[in-house]
């Protein structure tokens, strides 16, 4: 896998969750993790999990994985990233291990190299993070539908409603209505949808709402978005927060009145779930993996792109406030025990 313990970002988090769940009850033997990266401190590992020192160089990584596989003769090889597929498939064939492949979302959207596709097709089980990823996998790969399962990402325990007033003070928010997006400012224009939200700020303010738009995240699209805010005359009401430390994310979600991510390219959209687990309502588009995170519009608001502007304004004007049971309902769908039991159930299918 790319990274797990000591790694940064969504995929590393998913891998940690997966390994903790797998180690916590269903794997009959030890789990050895061979990661490409571990930039941060690895920290305590779940019982039964051993993580080898990282190997960045891909040739060295392949050689080490081969030696390890031949020595350990694993029962299952977990191919944690599409691009590790060809190596994983060869090792599975070499050792007679079952092959479990993981898809995180958008890596399956574009053309998939033939070797990676072959590895998916040779897998005994493919885990996908959303129904959309599952459908795209079945469209691209010649694999029995029963071998492709959906296990949505789980939300971390620290995302809770918490102390909202303290959170708002922390982010210097007083009486404003805060709309928040947490996402990389991706260079592909319009991909994450910040530019769908910015034009709504002057509109809301014109309606007498003291609206501000907080944008957390960094990336090459920032200049364009700043220019857009300026051209709409709301440069003082669109705040670019830059990259937020992971530990500050829960407070940022708590401080917001509405989390908006009108992205057209979410494999799942974990930030919707994190926001709602903190008690903040969320809105997104019915495209890609977002409908899973928003649970088809029953947990968050999920609309077609052409209805996004009206839906967001309607939420701010007509449905202010935070539903008191939102965090609980979010956990009902995406809490860790649900995720862990699904991982175990799926892995049990393989042996």
């Amino acid at each position: 896998m790319t990274d797990a313990f000591g790694g940064y970002g969504g995929i590393a988090q998913y891998n940690r969750d997966f390994l903790s769940a797998a180690a916590g009850g269903c794997f009959p033997g030890p789990i050895t993790v061979l990661a490409r990266m571990a930039n941060d401190e690895v920290g305590p590992l779940p019982t039964g999990v051993e993580q080898k020192s990282p190997t960045m160089n891909k040739f060295a990584y392949a050689a080490r994985a081969t030696v390890l596989a031949l020595r350990q003769r694993p029962k299952v090889i977990y191919n944690a990233h599409l691009y590790h597929g060809p190596l994983s498939m060869r090792l599975a064939r070499l050792t007679g291990a079952k092959l479990v492949s993981q898809l995180h979302g958008t890596e399956i959207w574009d053309d998939v190299p033939a070797g990676c596709l072959a590895a998916l097709e040779a897998s005994d089980l493919v885990l996908t993070v959303s129904r959309d990823t599952c459908a795209r996998t079945l469209a691209k790969a010649r694999i029995a539908p029963e071998k492709v399962a959906v296990i949505n990402n789980t939300v971390g325990a620290r995302f809770t409603p918490g102390d909202r007033d303290a959170a708002r003070r922390k982010f210097a928010v007083a009486g404003e209505i805060v709309i928040l997006t947490v996402a990389r400012l991706d260079g592909r224009e319009g991909y994450k949808g910040h530019d769908r939200v910015i034009p709504l700020i002057p509109k809301l303010r014109g309606m007498g709402v003291d609206a501000v738009y907080m944008i957390a995240g960094e990336g090459p699209d920032r200049d364009r978005l700043e220019a857009l805010a300026q051209s709409r005359g709301v440069e003082h009401h669109v705040r670019f927060l830059g990259k937020i430390p992971v530990d500050d994310l829960p407070d940022l979600y708590r401080a917001a009145d509405l989390f908006a991510l009108p992205s057209v390219g979410e494999g799942f959209g974990i930030s919707f779930v994190e926001a709602m687990a903190c008690g903040t309502p969320a809105i997104g588009l019915g495209i890609g993996g977002s409908p899973d995170a928003l649970v088809d519009g029953t947990l968050g608001t999920c609309v077609a792109p052409e209805h996004f502007a009206d839906a967001l304004i309607d939420l701010i004007i007509n449905h202010p406030g935070r539903p008191s049971d939102l965090a609980t309902r979010t956990r009902h769908h995406f809490d860790y025990p649900i995720f862990a039991s699904q991982i175990r159930t799926q892995l049990q299918k393989v042996w």
Binding site: T128, S130, A135, A149
Partner: protein, 608 residues
Amino acid sequence: MCGINGIFAFNPSANLPDRKELLATRDHMRARGPDAVGEWWDAAGRIGLGHRRLSIIDLSERATQPMASACGRYQVTFNGEIYNYPELRTRLEAQGRVFRTTSDTEVLLHLFDLKREAMVHDLRGMFAFAIWDDVAKSLFLARDSYGIKPLYTASDGWTFRFASQVKALLAGGKVSTDPESAGIVGFHVWGSVPEPFTLYREIRALPAGHTQVIDEAGPRAPQPFALVSDMLGMASPRPLAIDEMRDCLRTALGESVKAHLLADVEVGLFLSAGVDSGALLGLMRDAGQQKIRTITLSFSEYQGTSDNETPLASLVARQYGAEHQVRTVDEAEFQRDLPAILAAMDQPTIDGINSWFVSKAASEAGLKVALSGLGGDELLGGYPSFRDIPRWVGMFKVPAAVPGLAWLARSVMRHSALGRNNPKARGMVKYGGSYAGAYLLRRGLFLPFELDTILDPELVRDGLERLQLLPTVDSTMPPGARSSTARVAALESANYMRNQLLRDTDWTSMAHSIEVRTPLVDVALLQSVGPMIPQLTGALGKQLLAQAPSVPLPDAVVNRPKTGFNVPVGSWLDRKPDFDTALRGHVSRHRALDLMRTFATGAPALAG
């Protein structure tokens, strides 16, 4: 015969199923079951089952479905008939089981409780059913070996859905309409969509002779329990004498017909001029049925030609003392019914018109159940394919193995009159050398190399890749069978009959709320007849069938040249000005393209 459906939110992240969706899917199948409706939900609301009933056995309200077991643990929703249910019931009662109804449905509940998935081996009949186990929290689906009854499933990774019809699943509004290239290409190759594919990627048929379990891990891989190809592979260890075969066939046929007459309503018969339905009439009489009404279609276009089935059918009806009804269909009626035919057609098919009108006639006559001679040609070597396919394989085996020769032959023939007028001639060398390939030549509508001219080349490539055309056909033959007759019987039974004839019979009869029963498509019959099939070459099979009733069929019927169960649709459609009448098979081909356009108009994803 009924319509069944269900929704199961197996993934804990999923929302609970919507009741409106369950009812929309169920009630789309109104014609399948006009007599009663039912629905059932588990306490948590994670699974709902639906049922529309056409009452045939135990007409009382006690037999309404979904039906619960007495202990409340199991719920069943069932489409079909279990013909051996009286024996099963007696056996179960001897084991202390107490029954509350006289329906065959209740037998399923007791059997499942006793034997779990292995219960399917005890069943004789046509069936598609789902049983929910409220303790194990798992759903069990099963479909009969021949695939007489349909069962379609759809899973998006959160929620599993099933129904008797593709269009019913779509009517629920939650199933993706993303197109399945293998289904689209498969339809153009065969004239019907080959299972397990449908036109939509998310919707699949549970393959015939398979069971499937769906639990908290989602749908498990379908498991085969009794495949027609395996049963056809069991040759007799020693050659049988003609008399032995005649006796065996007579007994097995008599038992099958008797079993298929089990009903609490009148059972009629679709009668043509052929041996199959005629023999069934004689066997119905032998089974002791007093009042028998028979329905025969007549077409004015066929008056005075050998295609006119009426005179011989009337002769047979008279011989066995049946109340014979001739129903005349003309072009005007066909054109009037066409919109309804297209609306009822569950998946595109180039056939089914005859079934439509004969079912319509049966419905008008007040019948609810009718026997059909479908399956006789597959079982007893009635098609020209039994002669042609082995001949072609013998002829083209060597040329097909010569590198480049197939391509050369196709290129040369493209410029010849034969190749232009008969595209299949161009594929003879390429495909004629194997049973699967020769079968494609026999039954195919468009050959793979022609598809680029009618469909998007990328869709064709993707579809053929997913379809695995020849390996799939190959897998329907009995493994290791040396008999060419058994091979062709398996090819015809598991491809043309399953994907075309039986499916067409289902949607056309259900559209008229008629249950069609097929005594010649019966697992117990196949088990008796299967070992002698290698010996049933030439016309022998049909001759023995004609002699099966205690009063044999008249010679005029036995010696009548085979014409098929025809409808003059060709001439009705032929009048369209854009038809290239010089091209062989042009009517079917044009009909296929027209149909695909109709289906594409109905589903936006297919239009693109």
